[in-house]
């Protein structure tokens, strides 16, 4: 991967020298980047079709069977992808380390369970309504948690969010109406039955759930992508690269950090509600710190700040343990080591975030310079930030 630094202050000499050369996949990346957006979309159509067709194709080498049902494993990948995209807004875009992301995921699950499960004493609403509601509730929690803590240094935020995630999990145990490990059974699902009268969105039927989750993921990708290209996105990049400079240049850093935090929380809540619907059962298990770290691993592994990268990361983190069952017991060990190795040798992840011209800028660049813009492969983990001396 070619790296050309945008910052004159970056560490070693080789990084600091702007190099020209081929982009990723032997120049394919350059070509891709020089395409206008409508053409990029046109090229994406067959990819998306393929993604939708995966559970029906059940390709021999890719399949997770006979260990785990393939459509359900795919749903798990899609769920992780959605989570990774949400966490990426917080970690990758705004450069805030959130170790309690699973807390928002848990809150989303509980919103769905409390409002649809017959075990809950609350009034009940149709399942699909819980998705926006879960987002709204987690946004409120994100605001409550973020407002006082985002003033703090980055590593303090990490610990506060870690504490928050644990408090959510522990309260789910202690607060009796949340039913602890007993949990909520028969959480709702989207309406519709097939010809035999069975629910389409049954627990065992992964395909419709996968399609639903992929559709939501694409919508979220689209929204988050637009946000990144907006003023908000530019503010995030500015904060991530140098918070002080951004502040001096008039970026309301705390407000935009809060935006990132709250949007990330909302996506976490959404994925939690989807998870609750698919599993059909919510209890206090699996909302623990290791799960949170697994989410973080997905983002860092794929390349924080790069949407395609984090989806790839989510795929690795979710798919590998399902595909290679004998590795499942060691997944935390493997991903723990992976985090250390990545930070040392490839902090930008498999696919790093790219500094690039936004919107029409790249076409202008192509016209004027006559070749695609040179992209740097950078991320909040590699670029300028506050440092340890």
């Amino acid at each position: 991967m070619t790296t050309s630094s945008t910052s004159p202050k970056t560490g070693t000499a080789s990084e600091a020298t702007p190099t020209t050369g081929r982009g990723w996949f032997f120049g394919l990346g350059d070509q891709w980047n020089s395409l206008p957006r409508p053409q990029q979309w046109a090229w994406l159509v067959p990819v998306v079709v393929l993604i939708y067709a995966l559970p029906l194709l059940n390709p021999p080498l890719l399949t997770t069977e006979p260990g785990t049902n393939f459509p359900l494993a795919l749903f798990d990948v899609a769920r992780f992808a959605l989570i990774a995209i949400g966490l990426n807004v917080v970690v990758g875009q705004a450069g805030l380390l959130d170790l309690g992301y699973v807390g928002f995921f848990a809150i989303g699950s509980y919103v769905a369970a409390l409002l649809t499960s017959p075990d809950s004493v609350l009034w009940h609403i149709p399942y699909l309504w819980t998705l926006p509601l879960a987002m709204a509730v987690t946004m409120v929690f994100g605001l409550i948690l973020g407002a006082p803590t985002l003033r703090l240094r980055g590593d303090y935020l990490a610990i506060v969010t870690l504490g928050f995630g644990e408090i959510v999990r522990l309260l789910a145990t202690i607060v009796e109406p949340l039913k602890g490990q007993v949990g909520f059974q028969s959480v709702g699902h989207p309406p519709g039955t097939n010809s035999e009268g069975n629910a389409i969105f049954a627990v065992s039927n992964g395909t419709p759930w996968y399609w639903l989750c992929v559709t939501i993921t694409i919508i979220v990708l689209f929204l988050v992508g637009n946000l990144e290209r907006s003023r908000v996105g530019r503010a995030w990049v500015a904060i991530r690269e140098d918070e002080d400079a951004a502040e001096i240049m008039g970026v309301a850093t705390i407000r935009f950090k809060l935006w990132a935090f709250v949007i990330g929380a909302a996506i976490g809540g959404l994925s939690g509600a989807l998870f609750a619907g698919q599993i059909g059962f919510v209890n206090n298990q699996k909302f623990d710190v290791p799960t949170s770290v697994l989410f973080l691993a997905a983002v860092v592994l794929g390349g924080s700040g790069n949407k395609v990268g984090v989806i790839l990361g989510a795929f690795v983190v979710s798919y590998i343990p399902n595909r290679f069952v004998e590795l499942a017991a060691y997944k935390y060990l493997i991903f723990g080591v992976a985090l250390i190795v990545l930070m040392i040798f490839r902090p930008q992840g498999l696919l790093g975030a790219r500094q690039r011209l936004l919107a029409y800028g790249r076409q202008a660049y192509l016209r004027i310079v006559g070749k695609p813009e040179q992209l740097s492969s950078d991320s909040s983990l590699k670029g300028e930030g506050d440092r340890i001396s």
């Binding site: 069977e65 006979p66 260990g67 785990t68 049902n69 359900l72 494993a73 798990d76 522990l170 145990t173 202690i174 602890g180 490990q181 007993v182 949990g183 059974q185 028969s186 069975n198 049954a202 627990v203 065992s204 992964g206 698919q278 599993i279 059909g280 059962f281 209890n283 206090n284 298990q285 699996k286 399902n322 069952v325 499942a328 017991a329």
Partner: protein, 408 residues
């Protein structure tokens, strides 16, 4: 640096020495009363009557079948693996004995690892139900994962016998494919209460529960049966908790004759150890989740005050079963629920031997089953609960768990 470390070691050694010297004088004086004598009251039982016509997996050796499988779904890895492995070995033993005796009916055992995780189990169970060779399942071992997957079995019409999930609500979902091969917590709780106030003669009891589905349900059932005896001494602990000093203070302040811990040995063992360390001299009673050799390992000599209740039969007292089991398990003795797994498999095998080839017929077969197994008599009511169940008592004696007879 080396100097600092040396000073540190010497200094803390000095503190150790001063304090220990102060208390060494009365060492050994107070160890023989209280806890140690408690377990001597109830004698151990060393034989277990086997029903004379208990069904064996081997059958008559004349069965013919082909292409049918039985699945075991449960934890084989992860933190809760031991219980799953105990059961799996029992299942494997039954299948081996059957296939050896019936050359014309080779039943395949397919194993699926759920890690005991309610989040992971649905994907696995869906895979089990989509394999049309599988016509019967032993599992799932835990209540949480059983809740998450019961509907999938029901939809597929696939009969499954749980050898260990004891949550009472499992049979209240209208599932026709779910059968429980042992008594549920509503049976064990009252039996434990009767045992504590009756045979152990406790006048005041503390009930401590963990945060698991199992612990909460069992504590409720036990509390109901205990009534006023335990009314003003209750506490709750969390899974993974290690320090129980505040719980111990509370218990000691309440001066109970017995503590009933409703949970698993991982917390029960350090709790008992810290209770005894703090000066608790009463009896410690735990359910099937606590009854494990690991309890004794981790509670140390504090475990001499411990009694257990369990709907499980002591498989180790059946010599034939125990020695055959060791051939499968690689030397370890039958554990909690090994015999239940063995019996459950036997029931499914009997059905297959009778010529059944499909799921619907096997479900009906189990539903109408009425025969003795090694552990108990198997006949289910319409919800999938056993018609008659028993609870068995155990105690710790000289660092070993020994059987003390039926308690309810």
């Amino acid at each position: 640096m080396a100097r600092a470390r040396r000073i540190a070691a010497v200094a803390s050694g000095a503190v150790l020495a001063v304090v220990l010297a102060g208390c060494a004088a009365n060492q050994g004086a107070s160890t023989d009363s209280g806890a140690a004598s408690a377990s001597a009251d109830i004698p151990a039982v060393t034989t277990l009557p086997v029903p004379p016509d208990a069904q064996k997996p081997a059958g008559n050796g004349q069965a013919t079948c082909s292409g049918v499988s039985i699945a075991f779904a449960g934890a084989q890895s992860g933190g809760n693996a031991q219980l799953g492995i105990n059961i799996l070995n029992g299942v494997q033993l039954a299948i081996n004995q059957h296939n050896q005796a019936n050359p014309n009916c080779q039943v395949t055992l397919k194993k699926f690892d759920t890690e005991g995780d309610p989040g992971k189990a649905p994907g696995i169970v869906t895979q089990v139900t989509s394999d049309s060779d599988i016509i019967g399942v032993v599992g799932l071992p835990f209540s949480g994962e059983s809740k998450a997957t019961g509907a999938i079995f029901e939809q597929a019409g696939l009969v499954h016998l749980t050898p260990s999930a004891t949550n009472p609500t499992l049979t209240q979902n209208g599932w026709t494919t779910f059968f429980r091969a042992l008594g549920n917590d509503n049976v064990q709780g009252p039996a434990a209460a009767k045992f504590i106030t009756g045979k152990l003669g406790a006048k005041k009891v503390c009930v401590i529960q963990d945060d698991s589905d199992y612990g909460i349900g069992l504590a409720n059932a036990t509390n109901q049966a205990l009534g006023a005896v335990a009314a003003d001494c209750q506490d709750k602990v969390t899974t993974g908790q290690k320090d129980f000093s505040a719980v111990a203070s509370k218990v000691i302040a309440a001066k109970p004759d017995a503590v009933f811990y409703s949970g698993y040995y991982a917390e029960g063992a350090p709790l008992d150890q810290q209770l005894v360390t703090k000066g608790f001299t009463g009896k410690f009673v735990g359910p099937d989740g606590v009854k494990d050799d690991k309890f004794i390992q981790q509670a140390g000599d504090a475990s001499n005050n411990a009694f257990f209740t369990c709907p499980c039969v002591p498989g180790e007292l059946l010599p034939d079963f125990a020695s055959a089991y060791q051939g499968v398990s690689g030397g370890s003795a039958p554990g909690t629920y090994s015999l239940e797994g063995y019996d459950s498999t036997t029931i499914l095998l009997r059905g297959i031997d009778s010529g059944i080839k499909d799921r619907a017929a096997l479900k009906d077969y189990v539903k109408n089953y009425d025969a003795d197994g090694f552990s108990k008599h198997f006949k289910w009511d319409s919800t999938g609960e056993l018609a008659t169940t028993a609870v068995y008592g155990y105690k710790v004696d000289n660092g070993k768990i020994v059987y003390i007879g039926t308690i309810g």
